[in-house]
Amino acid sequence: MAGRIRTTKKLAQRIDRGYFKRLFPISRWRRVLSFVAVGCGLAWLGLHAVAHDQTPYASGPLTAAHAVLSRNCASCHGQSTALGRKIADKACLSCHDGPVHSAAQTFTPACVDCHVEHRGAEQLATSAGRVCTGCHSDLKVKAGRPGIASNIESFTHGHPEFAALRAGSADPAAIKFNHKIHVKGDVPLKCGECHRPTGIDDTWNFGQTPPIPPPAVAGTMPSGRLAPHALMQPINYYQQCSVCHALTFDDRIPDAAPHDKPEAVHEFVSRKLGEYIAAHPADLGKDNSPRSPAEWVRFRAAEDEKQLWTVTCQRCHDMQPGASDGLPGVPETKIVRRWFTKAEFNHSAHQELQCVSCHPNAATSVKASDILIPGRALCAECHGAGVANAGADCSTCHLYHDWNKARPVDGQFNIRQLTTFDVRRGSGALLSMNSGGDLER
């Protein structure tokens, strides 16, 4: 038995009774490191503060457009420190216009309700569908009842059929066109041979004449809002029809009549016949034709025009009887350039699809009055909720602001003002500037 007997008393008396008052390495280092860690953090913040850079405090990166404002929180946030206070609309409106959504809306949400910043460099305009359905799932308007649907919960639920396809609607275009003949007739055409997206300015396959720029179409389109190839170009005679349907009117004259008003056609025909008889006086009096060139021209023109008005033009247009000078009238064709007036569709986004997969009736349609755009249900086959579907956010198709009412914003800042910010000079720069404060430095 070893003689070293441990007793409580002996053990206790080995200990210096004040030992715990001194700091031992672990606790000392713990303390030191705590100071160091806090110090580092604060130093980091401090350095930024010295540089008047408030970037660290950002709750997330600003969108690219706003990135220039990162160093200066107050430029948007102002000096407001009130709990949960939102960015005032003022701050946004100093640079942007935000036209009203609908005259019937019961309230106007703040900009930041939909446009969430500090989410990185994504589109600030893109906002979640919930923002819309928040109202539209149970729509209240200022007066009366909502026009179309009052409880749209999502594209698949409660969303009405597209207006163009709603019961009773027909293509309003005053033109005669048989898709079936063109697609399946003697000369079968491919869709793309006639339907070209907008913005494609390469040489027209069939055209001989440089295309006339498509006329601006009235609508709710914000300029540049749509992607270049979003829509199909409206059918244009010269581009799509003239190849087959040349407006020739006289065997003696190779030129086709212009696809123009009857007056212009008459003038063209008369001019061409005049030129011809002048060159071929032998033909005067041939085939019981007048011998005088003028007469001949008049005679021949009447002959040719009759052919034109009643056959050639009539093929597509519903020619109307002449009014005063004997020339018929051509009704306005009214071809629908854009079927979705409240929404957007981007063909190029769907270019991987066959045309007929969305427009199945195109090959069989014989009447021009058939509306060949697909219905909501067809869209919803791809566009629905869930990750496996193409997006069905409202903002996929719809816009919020009524950009028709947009006013141009008169820019008031210079570059320095946006890129630098002097904390000492106060904050809320944008706000104060906008409110007519001290603009110049």
Partner: protein, 302 residues
Amino acid sequence: MRIDKSHRPWMIAALVVLGVALAGYVPYALGTRPRGGSVPGLIYGLAGYGMMLFAGLLGARKKVPVWRLGRAQSWMRGHVWFGLLTLPMILFHSGFSFGGPLTSLLMALLILVFLSGLAGAAIQHFVPGMMTSMVPLETIYEQIPRVRDQLRAEADKLVRSLFTVPDSVPELTLAAAASGPSRDPGKSDAGEMIEMEVAEREYAGGVYRDTVLPFLRNPESRRSVLADQGKAETFFEALRRKMPPATHEVLADLENICEEERQLTRQRRLYLWLHGWLLVHVPLSVALIVLGGVHAVVALRY
């Protein structure tokens, strides 16, 4: 701390809080894009920060142990379980995004603190038991150097019955004087030598000077034969065979002292494990709380 059955109420409470938070969060996250500044976001943020503060207050609480602010044990359990909750709370607060530089830093800190805390909980769950079984002769960590001085002094005193202690170890005498209590009455006081051959005496002296004393002076060194229990046993066994039986008691004591030294070394190592993780946990959490505060102030201001 041992995570045992007694933690069940706390665990359940933490789960309930988590459940409630989650129940709130799901519709919130579905309804809008969650962000810190929204009202639920702020609530989560405040809750999370509150929990962090509470967890951090444990340190402060420990500074005033006497105040009757609730049992330290409750604080500790709160620390563990609510500390666990901070991460989900803050994730809910942030909507699972890291946000800007400061918030990202905070997130990183939080995760580090959280992980170190988890590690610490695991360490403190297992290591005390190991320490208990592996270091039966443990003493107070901070006093290990002092106890070692005393052990050395004791050994020095012990060997005086074997051979004349050379003057080359004067510090031992000092230590011996300082260690009043650890002496056994009637045991090998100086001058009371055990009878043996001169050669044996010299041999014992040599062994003590060459092996034991260096080990006692530097017990943490792994090079010494005595640093290993098995080798030490062999060493002493051999020594005993060479020395007369009368000395065996002294040798046994000496061996026991070496064993105690080894255990103290082991204790030191285990102790570093036991408390070393705090070197990560505590500073980071302090930083987290301070910077989190800054974040809160700034965020609430803007």
